[in-house]
Point group: none
Chain length 217, copies 2
Amino acid sequence: MDLSDYFPIWNKLTIQEREVLQNSAGKRFAQKGTILHNGSADCVGLLLVQTGQLRAYILSDEGKEVTLYRLFPGDVCLFSASCIMTNIQFELIIEAEKDSDMWVIPAEIYHNLMENSASLANYTNEIMAARFSEVMWLIEQIMWKSLDKRLAAFLVEEAELEGTSSLRITHEKIANHLGSAREVVTRMLRYFQGEGLVALTRGNIEILDKKALQSLL
Amino acid sequence: MDLSDYFPIWNKLTIQEREVLQNSAGKRFAQKGTILHNGSADCVGLLLVQTGQLRAYILSDEGKEVTLYRLFPGDVCLFSASCIMTNIQFELIIEAEKDSDMWVIPAEIYHNLMENSASLANYTNEIMAARFSEVMWLIEQIMWKSLDKRLAAFLVEEAELEGTSSLRITHEKIANHLGSAREVVTRMLRYFQGEGLVALTRGNIEILDKKALQSLL
């Protein structure tokens, strides 16, 4: 796979801009557990995930973590280049949650291109808006919803009722059970999947870590 | 004051772009309490605050509020034009917290300009990064700071905003700001009163020891 495959707006860039990106981008492999970015201590650049999985989280003074979001193949990690925007005043940590391959575009190169390319600046806007939306979702979960608990309880109970850890049930049906909306349930299930609690396939939910689900209750 | 005074990057725009902005921008006055933007129900446009104060908050299904940030004269409200970015997938409400004057730039006009202007797109990026930073600060407060610190921070900030140490505000309203319950806030305020930090009378909170409050932060 070429660098161009990771830029949805590749065809909106000039030939010169493409060349600059192509020539400056490097490949990097990170073993599971590697810290790729640590707050304002570095400014690695944009990471374009090819394989594996990255995790963005914040860390309290007391060492507590909160996962903000995850990045999967095809996703772009913007905040590992947070120095390119003066108004980013928060510190987050990016780690390789699985063995990961990625492209790295140096922060300064990207910044220079973005200054003059409306396409690249708007693309950057959309990446940030997507991450912002994930963080807003998280705030709402933290403040108001106990849906995670209710969903975990439902899955555990259902598995016991059916005598199997492989549940054949639609998200729609679960939403009905919980008096919620299908999209909301799907999103939470994907969050659970990201946490390694369940595996989702079409029409099926496999419970991988029942103890962890029960610990949510 | 002219529209140009509210655009830090005015001189980076072309004469044509300035004309488009100037011709499309309208003035608006909003009385205290007016809802200027309500989630995805509208897409008013960019608001450039001239006088007064706006508040951005989210609302739970049960009607609980959490204040995300405030906007003051010179600030730009981007999310009242959230429709211009497809990846903004959250709903927030913008209200005039004081009688406010503002410029309104229609969302579509701004969007069209931004598509072709790297300067405007980068400027938009910086606005979003600033709001993102405020929300990240809030997450850290919610997750890790205890209510005494958040309440102390709120009282100190409010006193500075209002230019008085005598705050006319209900416990209910403070609870909404902090995403807490009235009883919890009342209890903490009484604790503060017991410590000699504030004096409580009906509908009023007198700050007696600002330094001690600040030392809690």
